[in-house]
Amino acid sequence: MDLSAINPFLLLCAILVSATPLLFAAVGELVVEKSGVLNLGVEGMMITGAICGFAISVNTGSPWMGLLAAAGGGAVLSLLFALLTQVAMANQVASGLSLTLFGLGLSALIGQGYQGIKPPEFPTFGVVVAEATAERAALVARLDILVFAAIALTAAVWAFLKYSRAGLILRAVGESHDAAHALGYKVVRIRVLAILFGGACAGLGGAYISLIRVPQWTEGMTAGIGWIALALVVFANWKPWRALLGAWLFGGVNVLQLNLQAAGVDIPAEYLGMAPYVITIIALVIMSSDRSGAPASIGRPFHASS
C-alpha cells in the first residue's frame, strides 16, 4: 500500500472532471423536476447528445459546433417526451423509460461508422503539479472550460430559481399546477420549456463524455451515468448547490475507488461501488422531514380541462 502515490491536487481535478457530465445532466433534470415533471429518459438524452456532438464535431472539425449539436440533439429527443407527456398526456414514468430505450437505439444507429474515429481535440489547459524528472514525465492536471461552465450553470440555475420572476413561476407550476393555471400561467408551455432545457443539458453532459472525457464514440458509452444523475437530483433535495456537492461525491467515490485500488489498498470494489446509492437513500430519509425542495406536483399530469 502506498497512499503517498495519490496526489491530492490531481485527485481533486480528476473528481471535477468525473463530476462534470453528471452535473450537467443533474442540473437540467433538476429544472425539469422543479416544474413538476419527472423525466426518466436522462440516459437516452445523454447518449443521443454524445453521438450528435461527436458526429457533428467530426464532420465540422469544430468541437464547439459539436457541443451545440449535442445540446440540440438532447433537446430534440426531449421534445418527444414533452409531446407525449404534455400534449398527449401519457404517463411520465413509462414515457421516460421508453425515451431511454429509443435514445440508446437511435444513438447506436447514428453512430454506425463513427467507431474508431478520433474527434477533433478539445482545448484543455494543464496545471503542472510536478516537474519532469529523469524517472518520470511531468505530472499535469488537465482541466477544460466545461468543468467551469457546469459550475457556472449550477450558479445560474440557482439564481434563476431563487431570484428571477420566471424561476418563481416555474416553481409555482411545480408546486401546484392548478393554482398556477388559475393565476393565468401557461403550465404546459412552461413545462415544455423546462423539458427542453433538461434535454439540452443532458445532451451536453453526454457530449462531455464522448468529446472530452473519453474521447471517442462507442455504443452505450454513457453506461448508466444518466441514471446516477437522476439519483443526484433527489440527493440534492432539488437544490442546485447540493447537486454540485452530490456530483463531487458521486464522481469522487468513483475516482477515489480507482485511486485506492491503484495504490494497492485492498478494498472490496463492489461494496464501495454501492456507497453512493446507500448514501443517497440515507440522505433521502434524513431529508424526508424537510421536503421544502421537492416539487409537490412532481409526476402528476396536468391538463387545463380538469
Binding site: 502515490a5 480528476a14 474515429i117 473519453v214 491503484a262 470494489a269
Partner: protein, 360 residues
C-alpha cells in the same frame, strides 16, 4: 385430452426439428455467429465479426453467414442459437464465456449441427471449444513494458478477476521483471469488459500515480486516448490492433485473430471431417497476433521482443517456466519446469512479487 395434445405437439416439434436440419444441408454451408456485444465495439466482438467476414471472403458463394449481436447471456442466447439451428445453420460459433451452458443445451437438441464455443470448458460430440493463449502475447508486452518504463511503474487495467485475466497479469509481470528487477505493477479491477468512461478514468488514475506504461485487459480504446493526452505514456492495443493510436502511445498490440480458425472449421464442416476438439492456440498457429512494434520502441528492445515472439511461436519457450513462486512465497514451478494447461486454465493466484490481491 389436453395433455395428449400437448405431448403430440411436442413430438411434432421434435420431428420438425430434425427435418429442418435435413433441409439445412443445401449446397451452401450456413455459418451462424452469436455475439455478446455490438459489432462496433472496436474490441472483442469486432474481431469475431472480422473473422466472420474473412470466412465470407474466403469461401465466397459457398457459404452464407448470419449473426445476431448484443445477445445477453442466458435464455436469450439459447433462443438465438436454436433459431439459427432451425433456420438451417450447419455450424454456429458462440463467442462469449457465458454462452457455455446454452450452447451445450442447444447442441443436445440438434445433434447434426456443429457448435463452437469460445473460451469455455464444456464439450459434447457436436461441441468444440476454442480459445487463445493471450498470455503468450502478454509475455511480449511485459518484455517491452519492462524495458520502456522509466518510473518503473506499470499500470494494469483488469476486467474481472477470472483465470484469463490473472494469467495475463502474471505473464506480463514475469517478463517485465526479467528485464527490469525494479518494476512494480499497479492493478485496477474495472469490473467491466467494456465501459469507455470507466476505462479512461482507470488509465488516468494509473498515470497520475506514476505509471508510464499502461496494459489493459478491457476492450475499448479509451485508455489509449487517456495515455495520448498525458503524453510520454505507452500503451498496447487489446483485442484489436488499435493502430489509430500508433506509433505513440500504442507501441504494439495483442490481436485476436479468429479468421484462420473460423476458416479451418468451416472447411472441416464442408468436408465432413469436423470433430470435437478443445483448441487453445497461441502465437504459433496465428490465433494470437502481435501488432506491429512501432519505432517508439528502441531497435534492440524491438529485436529482443521479436525473438521472444519467435520462441513462443515455435514452442521453444513457455511463458511460465520455473523457477516461479506464488505470491505467498510458496513454490509453484521448479527450475526448468513449465506450467501445465490445467493449472493455467484455472489460475487463481498471482506470482511472487506482485502486490495486491485478487478480489473475491
Amino acid at each position: 385430452m389436453k395433455l395428449m395434445k400437448l405431448l403430440a405437439t411436442a413430438a411434432m416439434a421434435l420431428g420438425l426439428a430434425t427435418t429442418a436440419m435435413a433441409e439445412g444441408h443445401g449446397e451452401k454451408t450456413k455459418v451462424g455467429f452469436v455475439y455478446v456485444g455490438p459489432v462496433g465495439d472496436g474490441g472483442w466482438t469486432y474481431e469475431h465479426n472480422q473473422g466472420r467476414l474473412a470466412v465470407e471472403e474466403h469461401f465466397g458463394d459457398k457459404v452464407e453467414t448470419v449473426f445476431v449481436e448484443s445477445v445477453p447471456e442466458g435464455p436469450d442466447a439459447e433462443r438465438v442459437m436454436t433459431q439459427m439451428a432451425l433456420e438451417g445453420a450447419d455450424l454456429i460459433f458462440t463467442t462469449s464465456f457465458g454462452y457455455m451452458d446454452p450452447t451445450i443445451n442447444v447442441a443436445a437438441k440438434f445433434p447434426e449441427v456443429k457448435f463452437e464455443h469460445a473460451t469455455g470448458y464444456k464439450t459434447a460430440p457436436n461441441v468444440s471449444t476454442y480459445s487463445a493463449r493471450f498470455y503468450e502475447g502478454r509475455a511480449v508486452q511485459g518484455h517491452i513494458a519492462g524495458h520502456m518504463t522509466k518510473s518503473n511503474i506499470v499500470g494494469y487495467i483488469g476486467s474481472y478477476p477470472i483465470p484469463e485475466v490473472i494469467r495475463g497479469i502474471n505473464s506480463a509481470y514475469i517478463h517485465a521483471k526479467k528485464v527490469n528487477p525494479d518494476v512494480e505493477f499497479k492493478i485496477i479491477w474495472a469490473f467491466t469488459w467494456f465501459d469507455p468512461a470507466k476505462e479512461a478514468d482507470a488509465a488516468k488514475t494509473l498515470i497520475e500515480q506514476g505509471a508510464d506504461v499502461i496494459l489493459q485487459h478491457t476492450d475499448s480504446t479509451a485508455p489509449q486516448a487517456a495515455a495520448q493526452a498525458a503524453g510520454n505514456v505507452i500503451t498496447f492495443g487489446q483485442a484489436s490492433d488499435m493502430a489509430e493510436y500508433a506509433p505513440m502511445p500504442r507501441v504494439s498490440s495483442i490481436i485476436d485473430n479468429w479468421a484462420p480458425y473460423y476458416i479451418t472449421r468451416t472447411q472441416a464442416v464442408m468436408d465432413g471431417t469436423w470433430e470435437t476438439k478443445m483448441t487453445w492456440d497461441g502465437i504459433g498457429p496465428g490465433m494470437v497476433g502481435i501488432g506491429e512494434i512501432t519505432n517508439a520502441v528502441p531497435a534492440d528492445v524491438k529485436e529482443e521482443a521479436l525473438a521472444l515472439k519467435a520462441a513462443l511461436a515455435d514452442g521453444s519457450y513457455h511463458p511460465f517456466t520455473g523457477p516461479l513462486k506464488k505470491q505467498d512465497g510458496s513454490d509453484w514451478l521448479a527450475e526448468g519446469e513449465t506450467a501445465d494447461d490445467g493449472t493455467l486454465a484455472g489460475m487463481n493466484f498471482l506470482v511472487e512479487g506482485i502486490e495486491g490481491t485478487i478480489p473475491e
